[in-house]
Symmetry: C2
Subunit: 318 residues, 2 copies
C-alpha cells in the first residue's frame, strides 16, 4: 500500500506492507489524515520514531473480529494501551507505561491506505459529522483535555497564547465553558480565522491585561511560558500544551511567589472531542488551509511547514 514513511528522511513508499489483522485490533481503511506540528517535529528526529507517520485520521473499519464494527466510519484514540495495568484499569490507558502511540512511538501511523488500532480505541463518527470535521477529533480531544484537568467556570477569564491550530482549538473549547476567552498571537490572518462565539483576539504589540484565572500556553516556546506566567493571576492556573519548549532556560520563580499551578496537558478522550465537535459545532473546517492526495505527501509536508498555514489534509485513494 501507499504510505508516508519517516526513515532517516520522509519518503513515499508505494509498496509498504498492509497491517495484518490480529486479535483485539481492527484494520482501518484511512479516508483522510491530518498533518500535525508533531509530525513535522518527528521528521526532525523527535522521539526517534521511524515508520509510517500520522495520528489524526477518519476511516472505515475493514477488518475486525467483532462484525458489528465492519464498515463503520471511525476515529481512533492514538495510545494503544496494554489493557492490563492499573492505568488501563483506571480508564487512563493514555498513560499506560506499556503503550505504543499511533505514528509516534512503536506503532505505524495513519498516513497510509490502512492502519491498525485496538478495537477499544475506536469511536464511531456520527453521520452528521463530515470527514473533514471528524479528522479534527484528535486535536479537539487534546484541547478538551484541559476541561478534564482544570475546573473552568463561566466567569473565569481565560487567555490562550499561540494562534496555531492547537491554540485556536483550545480557545474554542474554552469558549464552550467561559464567555471571556482571549487568544493572543502574532498572525493577524490566523486570529481572523479564529473568530467565533465572541472570542477576543490580541495581536502583536497590543497589551494584554494580566491577572487571568487560566492561561494556556500553546506557543511551544520558552518566551510563551514566561509570558503566560506574567499574564496569570496569583493562585491562577497555567496549562502547558506543548512539549516543544522542552529543555530551555525558564524563570520559574514567579510560579512559586504567585503560587501558580502549572498543569501539563497532552491527549484527551475522543468521546469528549466528538461530543464537542457535534454539540457545539466547532468550526474546525475553516482551519483547513490545503489538501493533497497521499501521492503528493512530500509536498503536503512542505506546505504544512509554511508560515500562515493551519491544517493540511491528506486524502487517501478510494
Amino acid at each position: 500500500m501507499k504510505a508516508l514513511v519517516y526513515k532517516e528522511r520522509l519518503l513515499l513508499d508505494t509498496n509498504y506492507p498492509r497491517p495484518a489483522a490480529r486479535s483485539g485490533w481492527a484494520v482501518i481503511h484511512v479516508r483522510v489524515a491530518g498533518i500535525c506540528r508533531t509530525d513535522i517535529e518527528l521528521t526532525r528526529g523527535y522521539m526517534g520514531f521511524q515508520g509510517v507517520l500520522g495520528h489524526e485520521f477518519v476511516g472505515v473499519v475493514a477488518d475486525s473480529e467483532d462484525p458489528s464494527w465492519a464498515g463503520c466510519r471511525v476515529v481512533g484514540e492514538i495510545n494503544a494501551a496494554c489493557g492490563r495495568c492499573e492505568w488501563c484499569a483506571g480508564g487512563l490507558g493514555r498513560h499506560c507505561p506499556h503503550r505504543s502511540v499511533l505514528g509516534i512511538a512503536g506503532l505505524d501511523g495513519c498516513m497510509a491506505e490502512s492502519c491498525t488500532l485496538p478495537v477499544t480505541n475506536l469511536q464511531r463518527v456520527p453521520d452528521e459529522l463530515p470527514d473533514d470535521a471528524a479528522v479534527f477529533t484528535e486535536p479537539v480531544s487534546a484541547a478538551a483535555e484541559i476541561l478534564e484537568q482544570v475546573p473552568v467556570r463561566g466567569s473565569d477569564r481565560c487567555v490562550v497564547l499561540g494562534d496555531g491550530k492547537l491554540g485556536i482549538l483550545c480557545a474554542w473549547v474554552l469558549l464552550t465553558r467561559s464567555s471571556d476567552v482571549t487568544l493572543i498571537g502574532h498572525h493577524p490572518e490566523k486570529l481572523q480565522h479564529a473568530q467565533w462565539q465572541g472570542l477576543k483576539t490580541c495581536g502583536p504589540g497590543e497589551d494584554t491585561e494580566a491577572g487571568a484565572d487560566l492561561v494556556v500556553d500553546a506557543t511551544g516556546s520558552v518566551s510563551g511560558l514566561e509570558e503566560a506566567l506574567r499574564l496569570c493571576r496569583p493562585r491562577g492556573t497555567l496549562v502547558l500544551k506543548s512539549t516543544l519548549a522542552a529543555a530551555s532556560r525558564v524563570n520559574l520563580a514567579p510560579l512559586v511567589v504567585d503560587e501558580v499551578t502549572l498543569v501539563g496537558s497532552r491527549c484527551g478522550r475522543f468521546e469528549e472531542g466528538l461530543r464537542l465537535l457535534q454539540t457545539h459545532r466547532l468550526p474546525v473546517q475553516r482551519l483547513i488551509s490545503d489538501r493533497f492526495p497521499i501521492d503528493e505527501g512530500l509536498s503536503a509536508f512542505h506546505r504544512a511547514g509554511e508560515p500562515g498555514v493551519l491544517k493540511v489534509l491528506l486524502d487517501m485513494p478510494g
Copy 2:
C-alpha cells in the same frame, strides 16, 4: 536599638531607630529570631532588599491601640497586606499586590530588638509552646501551605527532595496526613535529625522508586526539579517550594507527556502552623544547630551558611 541590617553588606547597627507605633499596627519586642536560607540569599542581593533582615520570630507585644494585645506572646504573618483589595477581602492577603513583606520587601524585619506588623497579622502563642518551638511557626506554616493547596490522602505515596530545614518540615507536615513519606537528601546527619513518625529516608546513591503521587522539591536546584519530575507518577502532583532554582535550564517535556501538575507554593497561614506545632508536637527544636546573641549576629549568619547546619537562632537582649 540593636538590629542586623543589610545595606550593601550585612552589619550590626547598635543605634537603629525603633519602629514607631501607628494605627492598626503593633510594635513587638522580639525574643528569638530564626535565620532562614532566604535571609542568606538576601545578603547576596536577592530581591534588592535593604533594611533590617528577618522574618521568623517570637516576641511580646509592646505597643498596640488594642490593649487586649499588650504583653501577649505572639508570632506574626510576614505579609503586611493593604486590607482593601480583592485578595485581602478573600483572605489571601499574602498575595495582596500592595503588600510589604517583613524583612524581605519594603518592611524592616525582626532581627532587631523590636519590629512592627499589622495587628491582624499576629497570632497568640499557646502557653505550652516554648519560644524555641514557636520561632518555627513561619517555616512550619510555609510547609503546611502544601496541605492547603494539594489534597493529600492517607494512602498517597509522598517524596520530599532536599534535607534542609524546609525539606524536613515539609516531610513532617506530610506525615500528619500520609503514612508513606520518604525524604531524600545528601546529608546523612540531617536525615538522622529528620527521623520521626515512620519517616523513610534515602541517602545519596540509594535508588528511589519512581511513581510517587506527590513530590515536593525543596532542594532549590534545577537538578532537584528534574529529579522530582522523574519520581512523580503520570497525573501526579509536584510542589515547588523554592524560588532559588529561578532562571535555569529545565526540561519540562515530561511534565506535559505525563500530565503532571506543578504547584508553586510559598507562605502559609500561621493559624495552621501553630496548630500543627501544638497538636502534632512536631519535633522542631531538634533542628536548632546553634544560637547567638544578636551582638554576634554576623557570626550567626556565617554559622548558618556552614555545611550540615540546620536552624541558627538569634537571641535578643532582655
